[in-house]
């Protein structure tokens, strides 16, 4: 054993291999963390507040009779609780996060800093317009950028996330049809089999019946199959482009023409807009409405499942049918001054072309996300945004090209957009499933790709590396994937069937969770004090 001058070992001792169990169940940096309800105390408090002045209460006799049962943590305890929890999460900042369709790109911290400026973070949605001119201007400017990038006539800013944007776009379509007197007879929405689940769910919310468009053998939509389904009962089509197979719908203009000819509207799911920003504009493709996931394309953080933001761009035909509120120039009560303000009611827009269909949310959208998205856009500029799309597409194609010989491409080895779709043919007869393969990636330090989606290929694996990955990062990822494939083929199923071995948890029993759902903490029965 090598020793330093103080007699302290300076190199690891050999010999011990298998790790013994620890007393705590912790594994060094991987620390087990109890639930808040197991460590907090209802007679503790992590916030110092003055005692309230004595007043005669005006609660009308409805004062709470019993406390809620909420335990508290002191500040250091809270810090530890949440930091330890955070350490059980994978994140973009920790590694490659190739979730197809989710666009896990870098989230710049400048955007966080800007969103916290007091003029954006600490203003109320119902302050007088004169006190929030900069905030309204920011929304207006972001709206202009979105219109320019998409080539569309108008944009509705209030939708809270992608699915909410879909709802907004389909409501605009419904409102336009009703204005034409065709609301009652157009009751069908066409949705390709490869669509996100939100598309049919949105159509169903508006009481449309959904007809599936079969996918062409090459993974795209055939205008002929659309034409076959089009008639005077069709309200619209919901198409994702680039689609969920990572392919650009090359016949999109023909599809749009057919849809319009049949008197229907074209909704585009813009989840994959990040592939074509600065390369093509939805407005030039015949699209009538498209939501933009600011949390995908424009890098606002996913936050473990939100908040998102889903502004909807609208064509000339649908522009009048936007939700309230709408930014308008307000005649100020003071002479010579013009104010930006929100028109909150249809009445305020009388005399204009606007035919708003109603309100989607209490206020005017996800301001915090707007600031972040605009900071992203300003940072990239027209040149940087195009470069980002190109890099995203290049990275996906690089992964495709370097894995094509060992994994299976359901639609052949042809160029893809920002994401590449594999199926599980390459795992045939190995005993390894797509799920097993994904879980083994976890042990290698990667978040798995999107699995079993889209539904049009068997055992789908949808990889979206995004533009945030360096070549070196992709090379290691590719080498890892190749190694996993070789091992699966070599029959080393143990690496897969039991995976993950090294994550904070082994595979979790989802069936058990759903069979008898435990959705809230319930304290254990006191031991030794049986009811009898």
């Amino acid at each position: 054993m090598t020793m330093n001058s103080q007699g302290r070992p300076s190199a690891p001792a050999g010999g011990e291999t298998a790790a013994p169990q620890t007393f705590t169940g912790n594994r060094a940096l991987m620390i087990e963390e109890p639930l808040l309800f197991e460590i907090g105390q209802t007679d503790n408090c992590g916030v110092d507040l003055p005692e309230a002045p004595q007043v005669k209460d005006r609660l009308g006799g409805l004062k709470r009779k019993a406390t809620a049962g909420l335990p508290a943590l002191s500040e250091p305890e809270a810090m530890r609780h949440y930091v330890r929890l955070s350490q059980k999460n994978y994140a973009i900042d920790s590694g490659l996060y190739p979730l197809g369709s989710c666009t896990m790109k870098h989230n710049p911290r400048l955007n966080e800093k800007m969103a916290r400026l007091p003029g954006f973070a600490d203003v109320h949605p119902l302050q007088p317009a004169s006190t929030v001119q900069g905030a309204i201007e920011l929304i207006d400017r972001l709206a202009d950028w979105l219109k320019e990038l998409t080539g569309m006539a108008a944009v509705a800013m209030s939708p809270k996330a992608g699915a909410h944007g879909e709802l907004c776009g389909m409501m605009a379509i419904k409102a336009a049809l009703e204005a034409r007197g065709e609301g009652g007879k157009r009751t069908v929405v066409l949705v390709p089999e490869s669509a996100h689940g939100t598309n049919p769910a949105t159509a169903a919310l508006l009481r449309y019946s959904v007809k599936a468009i079969p996918a062409r053998r090459d993974g795209t939509v055939d205008p002929a199959s659309v034409k076959e389904l089009l008639d005077e009962t069709v309200a619209g089509i919901m198409l994702t482009n680039p689609n969920t197979c990572g392919l650009f719908e090359r016949d999109i203009i023909a599809i749009a023409d057919a849809v319009h000819e049949a008197g229907a509207y074209f909704y585009c799911d813009g989840a994959n807009f990040n592939a074509i920003v600065g390369k093509a504009r939805p407005g030039d493709l015949g699209i009538d409405a498209m939501h933009i996931n600011l949390h995908k394309t424009f890098s606002t953080p996913h936050g473990g499942g939100g908040p998102g933001a889903g502004p909807v761009v609208l064509s000339e035909a649908l522009a009048p049918f936007a939700p309230l509120p709408i930014i308008a120039m307000d005649k100020s009560s003071r002479p010579g001054e013009s104010l930006l303000a929100f028109a909150e009611t249809a009445g305020e827009l009388a005399g204009s072309a606007a035919r708003p269909f109603g309100r989607l949310t209490a206020f005017h959208g996800q301001m915090g996300m707007f600031v972040r998205a605009l900071a992203y856009m300003l940072s990239h500029g027209s040149d940087g945004m195009r470069q980002a799309s190109e890099d995203a597409v290049l990275n996906a194609n690089y992964v495709r090209a370097r894995l094509a010989d060992v994994m299976s491409l359901p639609f052949g080895n042809r160029p893809c957009m920002h994401e590449v779709l594999f199926d599980d043919t390459f795992l045939k007869d190995t005993g390894v499933t797509t799920l097993d393969f994904a879980k083994a990636m976890i042990d290698e330090g990667y978040h798995p790709m999107t699995m079993y989606f889209p539904l049009v290929v068997h055992g789908a694996m949808l990889i979206e590396p995004t533009e945030s990955e360096s070549k070196a990062s992709l090379d290691l990822f590719i080498a890892t994937m190749r190694d996993l494939v070789m091992d699966a083929r070599a029959g080393n199923t143990q690496r897969f069937s039991g995976a993950p071995y090294h994550a904070p948890r082994r595979r979790l029993d989802e069936t058990r969770a759903a069979r008898a759902p435990r959705l809230v903490y319930t304290p254990p029965e006191p031991v030794g004090e049986a009811a009898e």
Partner: protein, 447 residues
């Protein structure tokens, strides 16, 4: 470009490796006539300093709530949020993580969501809660749709206590879906005969307490009559801090409790992002919208958490799903749960008492101004006053004097005819000086 790791040499090497000449080879499927030849007509890339300068200028054009005596509420409330909260939600592992579809490496998110669900259920007095909605208003609309699924009826009765914007959100989806909505008139006194509206055709009754004018409603009688007619009672709140001091809807017989959670852990943010809270009875759990986190065990028998009952959700059930919601308000829910875990029962009660005491003292101060009448019979931290003349003008003039004095009700509901009503909120942030400044400015404006 600072966010793009690929160098020019990388790009060339990668294209060569793939075997194409140019990046445009990948865009060959884009119809020729739709391909952009030039850059879009927008400014070029900017450095961090330039972006900061530009956005700081826009920010400076606004009057930040913290810089003036501030009494604006009506669905969003300014509270003090401990520094710990904003620090923790910016942990990379929370901020830059996706929806926890891979539970083995997202136990952090799943555990805090489980804790969040438990807190929301306890706070509202209900049995279960989901992992959040976009905000209170969209949650309210989802609650109505859920009641329609449970009762297999499609008529909602909306109390006049409901925030007009919430009412409008419910109306928008109901109109589009062909469901019926009966909205009772807004009345600042809080008096209405909602019991008379309940019969066997009704799916749900939606009551907000504290109501938009501040009044508190005892829900017990409404719940009783609703249940006798096979309808559900949906209780709504827009100020979650009220639950620290007032009887929770669950204890008064509500079937679904839904509301805005922004008041705990989250800032004003000019209207969003906020966090919708959604709680109900165990027996309705399979009709709930949104994500749910449940407890289970892993292959070694260790406790862990997963998203569960996803057969309700769009990614599994598609057009048969209970809602189309996908992304929710994860990070805002995290801010909520951290703040509430610092407060606990003791802190929340004290916070709520401070809010109530400040509102009571403000109401007294404003009632002393000539021409002002306090209209709300009972209230928590927000009440309605009437002023001579137009409330909107009074609010503008107060703003000119550096006081953000509340929301003219006519802004929320121009057709109500209540042009002289102002909604005034006071939270723990207000000082004696703030109250004095408000009363003095109001006196001046009304003189």
């Amino acid at each position: 470009m600072r966010y793009l790791p690929l160098t020019k040499a990388d790009r060339e090497a990668m294209l060569a490796e793939i075997g194409v000449d140019s990046i445009d080879a990948f865009f060959a499927d884009v119809p020729e006539k739709a391909r952009l030849k030039d850059l879009v007509d927008l400014p070029r890339a900017m450095g961090e300093l330039e972006v900061e300068r530009l956005l700081s200028r826009l920010s400076a054009k606004n009057v930040a709530a913290g810089s003036v005596p501030f009494f604006v509420g009506a669905g969003a409330y300014r509270h003090h949020v401990p520094a710990t909260v904003d620090h923790l939600i910016q942990r990379s592992e929370f901020l830059t993580s996706y929806t926890p579809y891979q539970p083995e490496i997202t136990q952090g998110t799943l555990q805090y969501l489980f804790e969040f669900q438990t807190q929301v259920a306890r706070l509202t007095g209900m049995e279960v809660a989901n992992a959040s909605m976009y905000d209170g208003s969209t949650g309210c609309a989802e609650a109505v749709l859920m009641a329609h699924r449970v009762t297999r009826r499609n008529k909602a009765i909306l109390s006049g206590t409901l925030h007009p914007h919430y009412r409008d959100v419910v109306r928008t989806i109901s109109d589009m879906a062909g469901d019926e909505v009966v909205a009772l008139a807004a009345d600042p006194s809080g008096k209405e005969d909602i019991l008379a509206a309940i019969d066997d055709t009704v799916s749900c009754i939606v009551v907000q307490t504290p109501g938009v004018f501040g009044n508190l409603t005892d829900l017990a009688a409404i719940a009783e009559k609703a249940h006798a007619h096979g309808a559900l009672l949906i209780a709504v709140f827009t100020e979650v801090v009220s639950l620290g001091l007032v009887e929770p809807p669950g204890a008064m017989g509500a079937d679904i409790v839904v509301g805005e959670g922004q008041g705990i852990g989250n800032g004003l943010n000019f209207g969003g992002p906020y966090v919708g809270l959604f709680a109900t009875r165990q027996k309705y759990v399979r009709q709930m919208p949104g994500r749910l986190t449940g407890e289970t065990v892993d292959a070694e028998g260790k406790r862990g958490f997963v998203l569960t009952l996803s057969t309700r959700e769009q990614h599994i059930r598609r057009d048969k799903a209970t809602s189309n919601i996908c992304t929710n308000s994860g990070l805002c829910a995290l801010a909520f749960t951290i703040h509430l875990s610092l407060l606990g029962d003791l802190g929340l009660t004290r916070l709520a008492e401070l809010n109530h005491a400040n509102a009571v003292r403000l109401a007294e101060a404003l009632a002393g101004v000539k021409g002002v009448k306090v209209l709300s019979g009972s209230f928590f931290n927000e009440f309605a006053i009437s002023v001579p003349g137009k409330a909107a003008d009074v609010i503008e003039k107060l703003a000119d004097r550096g006081v953000l004095g509340g929301v003219p009700f006519s802004r929320l509901d121009p057709d109500s005819g209540l042009d002289d009503v102002i909604l005034v909120a006071s939270t723990e942030i207000n000082t004696d000086e703030d109250r004095a400044a408000y009363a003095a400015a109001l006196k001046e404006v009304l003189a």
